[in-house]
Subunit: 293 residues, 2 copies
């Protein structure tokens, strides 16, 4: 009998990554593709398959070999059963498919099967604790009414306070000058830009805030102090729920980490592995359950 | 020769008011109509005419009498010359028409022709100082990147912090319960609502924040303390520019006033009159200039 193989997919609003491992955990190949948030429906599934086939190609497998592959898809936008069911209803070449959220895949990658918590601080912001097998989310409600502490919010606050500076309501620091220069020092251009701006567009201002704060910029400092309070609020809650540590996910988390107070900083840990490996664990767990059943 | 009459129009994103006075300042009639933000183009001008004709009707004037009327239109959305020019290019039945922003009309109504400042704190937020005839704006950049201190922002913060409370990151106070009840205690419903919400929709939560804060609600207090800081920042700037006092405009300003520190509270004054009377002053000033020229 041919050995089973395991494919893990980490799919979000901007890109999809797939990784193939054998039953012993050896990595055979990796692949990437475009956005696969499940809300994108058909195009999301097409990108997932594209990333998987790229990983299979790298492993030297042909289409027929995919029937040996048990796949786990960790996809953004699959909180709702009907979105998961849409993905599960698509025809596929694999031996089996399981679907869950990208956050759950990130948790499995970060913590393995043990109780624990992850906190995503990137362009967006969301936490997940798994305690006694029960999942509890913290945040993740998007940029209109939540996502405090995210790169998006840090960038938005930089624009907000730079306009204060332009109008004489805050010090015109180097950060303010750098931000305003991107709008030709014209607040009306910032208003026009904001009408079309995505969370990622706002987040693109976050690196400048960290750079200027490192030089004690008077406008940058309170932005990061506020972001640190927002991150701390979520960490405190994840600990209170029973998580022993909080795994740091997302590009902004390592940057904000030194701004946290020691008792919170010290419980933040690097994830054991990533969401693609978490998705592989999803596929393996489902495979093991079927073998036992 | 027939005496000139003066019509003032205050037009914004939700409604239009017109008022007719004679040269001695006696009020002859008033009228109202729908939205006339100049960005609405033809429909804005149609609503302006509708409000003016209603005021003329109340004064007992017929269409021919409108040729005695000098009109001043204070309209939102006329910051840009091309938007003003569009309004001025429309055919009209009046002896003359001048157009300016609703904020300038509000300043003229509040301060007459003297140096001074207004601050609008309603659903939105914007300040205007006129010093030695020069106009300086403060804020007014909309809800994406500005409008801190507005009813919109107070409402948004109430939703934000109520979700914190729901998730165990803030005290579940009576304000939080009231806000969450409007979303059936389901944050996903708040996310869906926020996708379509207007600034006015957010602002509709502000009265509840003031009510609960009056009873020292632990969630409402910091929201209003933050809003008071935002309002104070603008007042401080308007004073620094040389305004002796700041006229309070907008429904939220009287509510937040008691939250300000005394040195700022004490310079806030009731406007002498409203933007419709300011627009009448615009029309009279233009008429006087032509007579002198």
């Amino acid at each position: 009998m041919r050995q089973p193989l395991f494919m893990g997919v980490d799919g979000g609003a901007t890109r999809t990554r797939a990784r193939l491992r054998d039953a012993q955990g050896r990595q055979l190949g990796e692949g990437a593709a475009g956005a696969s948030n499940a809300r994108f429906k058909d195009s999301a599934f097409a990108e997932v398959l594209k990333a998987c086939r790229a990983a299979a190609d790298e492993a030297g497998l042909d289409e027929g070999d995919l029937s040996r592959v048990h796949a786990g898809f960790g996809l953004a936008g699959t909180q709702q059963a009907w979105d998961r069911d849409f993905i599960l209803a698509q025809p596929h070449p694999f031996a089996s498919v399981v679907v869950d959220t990208d956050a759950y895949a990130a948790y499995l990658g970060a913590c393995g099967d043990r109780d624990g918590a992850i906190l995503i601080v990137g362009t967006g912001f969301a936490g997940l604790a798994v305690i006694n097998g029960e999942r509890i989310t913290v945040g993740g409600w998007g940029d209109d009414i939540a996502d405090e502490g995210s790169g998006m919010m840090i960038g938005r606050n930089a624009i907000r306070r730079s306009i204060w500076a332009m109008e004489g309501m805050a010090p015109l620091t180097p950060l303010a000058e750098a931000v305003l220069a991107r709008f030709d020092n014209d607040a009306a251009k910032a208003v026009e830009w904001a009408e079309r701006a995505t969370p990622g567009d706002y987040g693109s201002f976050a690196p400048a805030v960290f750079e200027h704060a490192a030089r004690r910029d008077a406008l940058a400092m309170p932005i990061l102090e506020e972001a640190a309070r927002d991150v701390t609020r979520a960490i405190a809650r994840l600990l209170e729920l029973g998580a022993p540590t909080v795994a740091m996910i997302g590009g902004v988390f390592p940057e904000i980490l030194p701004w946290l107070a020691p008792p919170y900083r010290d419980v933040c840990v690097a994830p054991e592995s990533d969401a693609a490996d978490g998705a592989i664990l999803m596929a393996k767990n489902a495979f093991a359950e079927r073998k036992l059943a």
